[in-house]
Amino acid sequence: MTDLLSPVLTRNWGHDRSWTLDSYRSDGGYEGLRKALTMTPEEVVTEVKDAQLRGRGGAGFPTGTKWSFVPQDNPNPKYLVVNGDESEPGTCKDIPLLMASPHTLVEGIIISAYAIHCHTAFVYIRGEVVHPIRRMQRAVEEAYEAGLLGENILGSGYDLDIVVHAGAGAYICGEETALLNSLEGKRGQPRLRPPFPAVAGLYASPTVVNNVESIASVPSILRNGKDWYAGMGTEKSKGFTIYSLSGHVANPGQFEAPLGITMRQLIDLAGGIRSGHELKFFTPGGSSTPILTAEHLDVVMDFESLAAVGTMLGTKAMQIFDETVSVVRTTLRWVEFYKHESCGKCTPCREGTWWLVQLLTKLEAGQGQEGDIEKLLSICDDITGKSFCTLAEGAVACVTSAVKHFRDEFEIGYHTPAWEHLPYEKSALFAVAPQGAAA
């Protein structure tokens, strides 16, 4: 069973004081950097391109290709911005990585920055996660002390500074242009594109924005070679990745495996569904990816296979729900999140999530009326394809997929509260008072 795992990023997480430079170095840390510094930046870009590393932030865009978009004839400085604003419900991979092995990211940043001729890199970390921010800050300090950052890194003549920036707690700042606004001290709202960040990003200069996990994967590619990396995974989705499993499994947590593993194998790795229960539905890649059900257990977890069944690999974050869970309640909780996190810039997202929450609240309370499901879907259609960025698409996806797979449960909302149909205390892993009991 465990031979399905391919620990690369997570390999050292169990080591003694794994977050320190000494620990990281004792395990071959910064060897990838040494190798990269013997190559030209263009060779590094080619290496990552050939390894076919795809972005781990959700969209799966080829990382090396993104780097090659940076116009090197632009006189402005080039910036690398690492997106550590991990806030998607269910997604929990970057923050554990920052906690356990921040040097993996530091090394990845130095190599990636070198590849794109960047001399100032930023790490934008979600503001609520104070502990990982401190670990990252300390790792950067250690790297400066060891001559891995600053001027003339390892005698190569290459200079790089890293700025660790704590966000103020907004999901939308995970959207790359909103992140850049926030980093510049402006409101965290997405920008118009074009111009794309690669041309005019941070401070109107060429900027690459990459996810933490994407950048953290780079050192291993340099250390072990593109062929080693491309040897893992499926035809179009190469390499390994961190899957985060949460919810009704025996052992929730992070599991690192090649792309192409199936959901059934992942649930087995997590010890199966909690004892005495069975799978009802799950998200393949965080709450903004359309949900799947038990019939999809053998779908291969890669970008293409999930797209084929109408969902997305996203951030490989599986929230797993057993038969005790109300889909209506879960959907409402997700949409409440999106309503709270909508930046307010565009009408469909701002007003649409406001309306969806009100309708779903009625359905959860059993006060729905005939036609409310059609109205729900119609509002989703109002929103779909019209919003400024993709936040609203995520908010809609969980609703439409939930209705698609569990329409009958929404119909029950016409007459019976969800907490009577599926008592909430049954899905909890600890004792709770039933909804409405206190009121």
Partner: protein, 860 residues
């Protein structure tokens, strides 16, 4: 339609919108291209003068072909999508996708919109209402709970916000940030509770705040004075020109039952675009007070008493006849060109005097010569225009604060700074808020030294430089001489921008001693013959007095009568002396409100206010700006031209016309002067030598009688303060003082003190006029500063540093202090150190007109 797509030509691209082919310049947004094809796509956030934002999503269209053979699967926001060659766009007229998308967005916009329409000021002219009626669903599917807020909340004393009505299009915040440069209006919070707002203790502070009311696509922003006072469909609109300054803004004046209810900025792309300032928008109620004169007044037994028109005209004529040519004529700078011309002809042809002047302000003989030689007679197109400000590479402000003294010039400069990389330099006593918003490089200047500083900087001027000179240069000896000389040697262009709307027109009309209409020199025989022949009368033989000499001439008896219109003693450099001098001559006042001068007159003839007459102004560009009567003339007063005509008849002469059209025809018949111009000014540069020099200008919103009665507007005036530099404060022992008493030979003024690090040393700045007093109450002579304790009456402590919007001020000052050019004109600015703290480092390199250092070397 055919499948062939024409090749791009001359930077034009061709696309089809609803199968209509349209060619537009590259970079045009689809929503604009559709307008070119005559197709209006609904929109809320889009505004042609603001940067695109794509927030409301109302303008969705279908794009089956983006010009590359591939279409967009999703609907596209046409306000952010650039048109491409061969692109096909389908709007609501031809596409179900576009129709559905727009309907869906409208539905979402309405779920949280209150049903305020019956009581909302915008009802009847509301884009949201119109579109909901035209394209919306008749009934709402939303049966939930609407978002509510307390309403309205004041953003300033003038601007009120109903957050419930707001559709969050961000037009107001973008206007504030992008157009006027005021940073106190923001979007706050996020998601469904995102809202427009201000910081708790910082009101929306802007001279242009009324524009946000006008561009708000719903009734979320209203202004205090208009709120609930009319329905748009009851208003009658008149297009005219604003009378508050020389910017020449087109106005749309809306009246009901003859009462003006509001004034909106007109849309004149070449002049004010679609903007105006708050003074022009809100400052119009001044003629509605109980001091309006509607019947003639004649002084009897020392008292002004109501008289009939024949009686008053006879009394006026008798007094003027007695003076026998020793008459002085003074008009303020606010008359239409036609009315000014009537005075010019009345003075020369009827009264036989050349003592005519329009300058109820500080003047100089140098200025008189400058105006006659270089400003009068110039035609539009020969002078600098708004468009030139956008194409200039460098603009120098001297004796001129555009945000206060010509706000639309300021907006155009700011646009050029923001969009075209214009570099602005300000020769001024301190970096004003307006200059800071222009990212101007300041040359801290003691008033009086302008001529030397201009000369020292002139090696950096060239054909791409425009110098904007204000009327205050009359107070700086040699400055106007230097301006003309420098322009001739460097190729720089210049414009003289007066504050008042009628000054350029008055010059055209010859309302200056030594100057006949059309720019004709009084001393030129050919010019005299032309005028004399046209008027059919002899001209006075001798040149007349300037306004600065009126008081003394009146006391000596050399001016035995004064005919004064539209002027206030309070505007004269020494109001008291002017009023005292009125005791000697016979005074006829033509006025529509009781002024200090009218109160001292022997005969007062009521005349129509501007709102009731037709005519035209010439703006600072010398562009003709039509004035249209807004309301039907009230019966009792007559227009000034008609009064002058009647007075002429009473004096046994003929003015030649009795109305606006007649005056215009007479002026046009004379035409412009094509002969030699008189000599320009010759004046040695001045030099400020006093320990302390007073600096001052009129702020846009002060105690001007034009804004009387508009309390909400008065509340948006800037704080009345005195300013000194840190060094001067130390020297004068003011460092810790919240207030200062500024004293001169006429009196003193006690004001809150601001220690401004951009300020030139040895200078104290006070507003020229304010509700707390002005420089007239200080006077001249030796200026003394005395520290004052906080006034018990003042509720809030005085500011001790420059206000916060001027964040960049201390840094700029640091650079500027090293570049101070005060008494030593040998310190040329070419040697001035770089200014590292320029607010836009990328746009404004070192030096005060940066790019120019090398060329300066070449020329010198």
């Amino acid at each position: 339609m055919t499948a062939t797509v024409p090749a791009p030509q001359d930077n034009l691209i061709t696309l089809s919108v609803d199968d209509v082919q349209v060619s537009v310049p590259k970079g045009t947004l689809v929503i604009r291209a559709a307008e070119q094809a005559g197709i209006a796509i609904p929109r809320f956030c889009d505004h042609p003068l603001l940067d695109p934002v794509g927030a409301c999503r109302q303008c969705m269209v279908e794009v089956p072909d983006a010009g590359n053979g591939r279409g967009f699967p999703k609907p596209q926001a046409s306000c952010t999508l650039e048109a491409a060659n061969g692109m096909q766009v389908k709007t609501q007229a031809t596409s179900q996708m576009a129709t559905d998308s727009q309907r869906q967005i409208l539905e979402l916009l309405l779920i949280n919109h209150p049903l305020d329409c019956p009581i909302c000021d915008k009802g009847g002219e509301c884009p949201l209402q119109n579109q909901a009626m035209a394209d919306g669903q008749g009934e709402s599917r939303f049966d939930g709970i609407k978002r509510t807020y307390p309403k309205p909340i004041p953003l300033s004393s003038e601007i009120l916000l109903d957050r419930e009505r707001c559709v969050l299009c961000a037009r107001c915040t973008r206007f504030s940030e992008q157009i006027s440069g005021d940073t106190s209006l923001h979007l706050l919070e996020r998601g469904a509770v995102q809202q427009v707002g201000i910081y708790p203790d910082q009101p929306y502070d802007s001279y242009f705040s009324g524009n946000v009311v006008q561009i708000c696509p719903v009734g979320a922003l209203t202004n205090a004075s208009y709120r609930f006072s009319a329905r748009p469909f009851d208003l009658v609109s008149t297009t005219t020109t604003c009378e508050n300054c020389a910017a020449g803004c087109q106005l749309r004046v809306d009246q009901r039952h003859g009462d003006v209810r509001r004034r909106y900025a007109g849309n004149d792309p070449e002049v004010n675009e679609e903007w105006n300032c708050d003074l022009g928008r809100f400052g119009f109620v001044s003629n509605r007070g109980d001091d309006r004169i509607t019947r003639p007044l004649v002084r009897r037994d020392g008292q002004l008493a109501v008289a009939s028109w024949p009686e008053a005209l006879e009394a006026a004529a008798e007094g003027l006849k007695k003076a026998a040519g020793k008459v002085g004529v003074l008009t303020g700078g606010r008359l239409t060109t036609e009315t000014a011309y009537a005075y010019s002809r009345f003075a020369r042809a009827v009264l036989g005097t050349d003592s005519v002047d329009f300058r109820s302000r500080a003047t100089s003989a140098e200025e008189t010569a400058f105006l006659a030689a270089h400003v009068a007679g110039a035609r539009f197109g020969e002078t600098v225009t708004y468009a030139d400000l956008e194409t200039a590479k460098k603009v120098v402000l001297v004796g001129f604060e555009p945000e206060d003294e010509s706000p639309l010039v300021f907006l155009r400069l700011r646009k050029a700074v923001r969009k075209k990389g214009l570099v602005v330099a300000a020769i001024a006593p301190y970096l004003s808020r307006g200059s800071a918003k222009l990212s101007a490089n300041l040359v801290p200047t003691v008033p009086g030294n302008e001529a030397r500083i201009l000369t020292a900087a002139s090696p950096q001027f060239d054909h791409d430089t425009v110098i904007l000179a204000g009327e205050r240069l009359a107070e700086s000896p040699g400055a106007l001489t230097a301006l003309v000389d420098i322009a001739a040697t460097t190729g720089a262009r210049w414009a003289w921008i007066p504050r008042r709307p009628g000054e350029i027109g008055a010059l055209q009309a010859g309302l200056l001693p030594g100057l006949l209409p059309g720019g004709r020199p009084f001393g030129d025989q050919a010019a005299r013959q032309q005028v004399s022949a046209a008027w059919g009368s002899e001209l006075p033989a001798d040149p007349g007095y300037e306004v600065a000499d009126y008081a003394a001439a009146a006391e000596r008896g050399d001016l035995a009568a004064l005919l004064i219109s539209g002027a206030e003693a309070g505007d004269m450099p020494d109001p008291t002396a002017f009023l005292d001098a009125l005791a000697h001559p016979f005074v006829v006042s033509l006025e529509n409100r009781l002024s200090d001068i009218a109160a001292a007159a022997d005969v007062v003839l009521p005349v129509s206010p501007l709102e009731e007459i037709a005519g035209s102004f010439l703006d600072w560009e010398h562009r003709v700006r039509p004035v249209a009567p807004v309301a039907a003339p009230s019966r009792a007063p007559m227009t000034e031209i008609r009064v002058l005509s009647a007075l002429a008849t009473e004096l046994g002469a003929d003015l030649g016309f009795g109305d606006n059209l007649g005056a215009r025809a007479s002026l046009d018949a004379l035409g412009p002067w094509s002969g030699a111009r008189p000599d320009g000014p010759r004046q040695e540069p001045g030099s400020a030598t006093a320990t302390l020099t007073l600096a001052s200008w009129r702020e846009l919103i002060d105690d001007s009688r034009h804004s009387d009665g508009e309390e909400a507007l008065a509340g948006t005036a800037r704080p009345v303060v005195a300013r000194v530099s840190p060094a001067t404060a130390r020297q004068q022992g003011l460092t810790d003082s919240p207030r200062v008493e500024v004293a001169g030979d006429r009196g003193s003024l006690d004001l809150p003190l601001v220690i401004d690090s951009t300020m030139a040393d040895g200078v104290v700045w006070v507003p020229r006029r304010s509700r707390l007093g002005g420089i007239a109450s200080i006077g001249g002579g030796e200026i003394r500063l005395t520290a004052q304790a906080a006034s018990p009456a003042s509720a809030s402590p005085a500011p001790t540093t420059a206000p916060s919007p001027e964040q960049s001020v201390p840094e700029v000052a640091e650079a500027a202090e090293t570049a101070v050019i005060t008494d030593d004109s040998s310190n040329t600015s070419a040697e001035a150190p770089a200014s590292p703290a320029s607010p836009h480092p990328a746009d404004s390199p070192s030096g005060w007109i940066p790019d120019h250092d090398t060329k300066a070397g070449d020329q010198s």
